[in-house]
């Protein structure tokens, strides 16, 4: 039996409890084991990070990827904004993404001669999150005082698009050129459905509140993805866009770095990879019929990772999230909006939150994302009064604890959950790199189911997913 994988450590943040209060991790529970993703799916691509070279491999891959990019439009003295997003810093501890950003700066400076290179790092709903990462990874010093977090309530700028005026964050676009520096982690597939994944930050991280609300309230669960493309296609953004650089992820780690002057070329490549590799892990997780989920990661409730997949996705894997013929995932804000006052959906056909999750233990997770929906639909136990109070004080989670109970310790919570649910399957969302920390019965189940899942994705599901996104099925992955 494999020992547990060392999880991502708690991180000091204004959005989470003091890491000193996290006295036990899910992986520390007696009898826990782990499964490696490459044991489940041997065809997963080899990773460059984590690895023996550390982030040096990311630097080298970034330099190689950028070697094929045209930077001739950037002249000495030109201002350049490298646009980044908070998500990248949550991947494998964040150092790989930080190193890609540092390398982009170094290469642009060397090849163009310009010194005015800024980092503008967007956020989701935790407006100081990237400020914390900028400090943690020393990026302000690296960018010579020109790194800053930008938030959706900051001063805006109107952007004229094919669907009318949308609004960006002024600071994102206050340079002559922009470089879109992102990652391909599938992450919120319940929202973006792997449609224009590479383009999404133009409608989100770099966008004002009006634009983000357009995405989540005005267009519908699939059409919403056009918001980002509309902004990216605008003459304003096109006049500034220089190139893009992506940290390409698979569920087991960083696979490569991709850079291109054509964002849509990157988009097509990562769409294929994302559907194939994340599609397999999510389809496998959908085979679990009962389990206890333990949240144990430095991020808000929905963004806790297991096997490269976030908890919000696990809440929806009872439905094929990649199949665009399914209009509503079990969790998305469109879905959440459609539950009436009696707690039932307003229309037929709204799928339930994954009924396999018999209980959720909130051992360590952050505030800063409206999460009451999860506690309303899944029995939830929060470990420790300090964490419960943190949720009550969060304006996005004022009512979370109305639906959750507290336990004095992780052990007590797990003891209760095992007895109350009757399941022996435990899945820990702790970001364990390259695998999942699980209880032995769940490890056996996953190993038994994985080969058939892989076959089904390759032969049946992947061709359908790609066709729905206008992509040729036969093009091989560049990995």
């Amino acid at each position: 039996m494999r020992p547990p994988i060392k999880p991502i450590a708690p991180r000091k943040s204004q959005y989470g409890i003091d890491p000193a209060l996290v006295t036990m991790r899910g992986s520390d529970l007696p009898g826990m084991t782990s499964v490696l993703l490459t044991d489940l799916f041997p065809d997963l691509p080899p990773v460059i990070y984590p690895g023996p070279e550390g982030v040096a491999a990311v630097r080298r891959a970034t330099e190689q990827a950028l070697a094929g990019v045209d930077m001739s439009m950037i002249q000495p003295g030109d201002s350049v904004n490298i646009l980044a997003s908070h998500h990248g810093f949550t991947l494998l501890g964040g150092e790989a993404y930080a190193e890609m950003l540092r390398t982009i700066r170094d290469v642009v400076r060397e090849r163009t001669g310009t010194e005015d290179i800024r980092l503008r790092a967007g956020v989701g709903l935790r407006f100081r999150e990237t400020e914390e990462y900028i400090k943690r990874f020393g990026l302000d010093e690296y960018f010579q005082g020109k790194a800053m977090g930008i938030a959706p309530v900051d001063r805006g700028i109107p952007i004229e698009t094919e669907i009318g005026t949308l609004y960006g964050i002024a600071r994102a676009y206050d340079a002559k050129w922009i470089i879109h520096a992102h990652n391909s982690d599938v992450r919120e597939v319940h929202f973006h459905r792997q449609v224009d994944r590479a383009v999404k930050p133009f409608g989100m991280s770099y966008a004002r509140i009006e634009t983000r609300s357009t995405y989540h309230q005005n267009l519908g669960p699939r059409a919403a993805n056009f918001v980002a493309r509309a902004i990216f296609e605008s003459p304003f953004v096109q006049s500034k866009f220089a190139f893009t650089c992506f940290l390409v992820m698979a569920p087991n780690g960083v696979v490569r770095v991709d850079a291109d002057n054509n964002l849509y070329a990157v988009n097509d490549r990562i769409t294929r990879d994302g559907c194939r590799y994340y599609g397999k892990v999510m389809t496998l997780l959908g085979e679990i019929k009962d389990c206890i989920a333990i949240l144990d990661f430095p991020a808000p409730v929905p963004y806790n990772f297991a096997g490269g997949v976030i908890y919000a996705n696990f809440c929806g894997v009872n439905v094929d999230l990649f199949d665009l013929d399914n209009p509503l995932p079990p969790y998305t804000w469109y879905t959440e909006a459609y539950y009436g006052k009696d707690g039932r959906p307003l229309i037929e056909g709204v799928p339930p939150v994954n009924p396999a999750i018999k209980m959720c233990i909130h051992n360590y997770a952050w505030t800063g994302y409206p999460s009451a929906f999860f506690a309303e639909h899944i029995p939830t136990v929060v470990v420790g009064e300090a964490q419960a109070q943190l949720m009550r004080d969060d304006p996005q989670n004022i009512y979370y604890m109305d639906h959750a109970m507290t336990a004095p310790s992780l052990k007590a919570a797990v003891h209760f959950a095992l007895r109350a649910t009757g399941t022996e399957n435990i899945l820990v969302f702790d970001g364990a790199p390259g695998g999942m920390n699980v209880s032995p019965p769940l490890a056996e189940l996953l190993k038994a189911k994985a080969p058939a899942v892989s076959e089904r994705v390759e032969r049946e599901l992947l061709p359908r997913w790609l066709r729905q996104r206008g992509l040729e099925v036969a093009v091989p992955s560049p990995v």
Binding site: L125, F127, A151, P152, V153, D154, R155, G156, E162, I163, G164, T165, L166, Y167, R193, V195, D196, R208, I209, E210, T211, R212, S213, T214, H216, Q217, N218, L219, G220, P221, R222, A223, N225, F226, R229, L324, P327, L328, E336, A337, Y338, G340, K341, D342, R344, L346, I347, Y369, P370, A372, F373, R392, D393, P395, Q396, N397, I398, Y399, R469, G470
Partner: protein, 214 residues
């Protein structure tokens, strides 16, 4: 509906009078006033405790970390009672804005379209007044902005920024029903499913709802 349990508090010695908190406050509860302290900046922020709902926006955006959140000794709840407004008018306004009265528009507070509509029908004419009285736009401050603007527009109330040079809200944006046919055709093969989503949204708008609970 929203529980108001916190209040913004100024750390005077850190305030430089930059005014960013005033520009971002969703309830217009911050105001620049002359600083009585001659040693400090000429102007300093004053917090109107009676309208501050404790949303953290000022604390999150102050470049000088001059604001902090403190617990209110006596928390209270803001809510516009839908039952005090004509039900048919509430329904009509929501459906004109292409929202189901029961659909949740604010995921942080669980506030439904009908309460925002009731607030408008009771006479609140700006997003800031609506936020003060219903609590919407005071959680994440992001996701519920368009339904508020759609409901105000449906009530034929123009969006006129209360605060000159404020960054509170710039304007309503497109809805699914307004996407030009040429755009739909141009991008038809890329998985956006424009018309299928319109059909889904239409089902929601016209759904009867449960009308149970509050």
């Amino acid at each position: 509906m929203r529980l108001v349990n916190l209040l913004a508090e100024l750390i005077e010695e850190k305030c430089t009078g930059c005014g960013i908190c005033v520009k971002v406050c969703p309830t217009l509860s911050m105001e620049m006033v002359p600083n009585p302290n001659p040693e400090g900046p000429k102007r300093i922020v004053a917090i109107h405790a009676e309208t501050c709902v404790g949303c953290w926006t000022c604390e999150q955006r102050c470049p000088f970390e001059a604001l902090r959140m403190v617990r209110r000794p006596e928390p209270y709840t803001v809510r516009v009672p839908v039952e005090e407004v004509d039900r048919q008018e509430v329904d009509a306004l929501c459906r004109k804005a292409r929202l189901n009265p029961e659909q949740v528009v604010c995921f942080c507070t669980g506030t439904r379209a009908e309460e925002v509509a009731a607030a408008i029908l009771k006479g609140y004419r700006t997003p800031e007044e609506i936020s003060r009285h219903t609590g919407v736009r005071t959680g994440c401050k992001v996701e519920c902005t368009q339904p508020i603007l759609r409901l105000l527009e449906a009530a034929e109330i123009p969006l006129v920024p209360t605060l000159k040079d404020g960054w509170q809200l710039y304007g309503r944006t497109i809805t699914a029903w307004e996407v030009p046919e040429a755009v739909k055709a141009k991008y038809a093969s890329r998985g956006f499913y424009f018309d299928d989503d319109i059909a889904l949204l239409n089902r929601i708008v016209s759904a009867a709802g449960s009308r149970k609970g509050g």
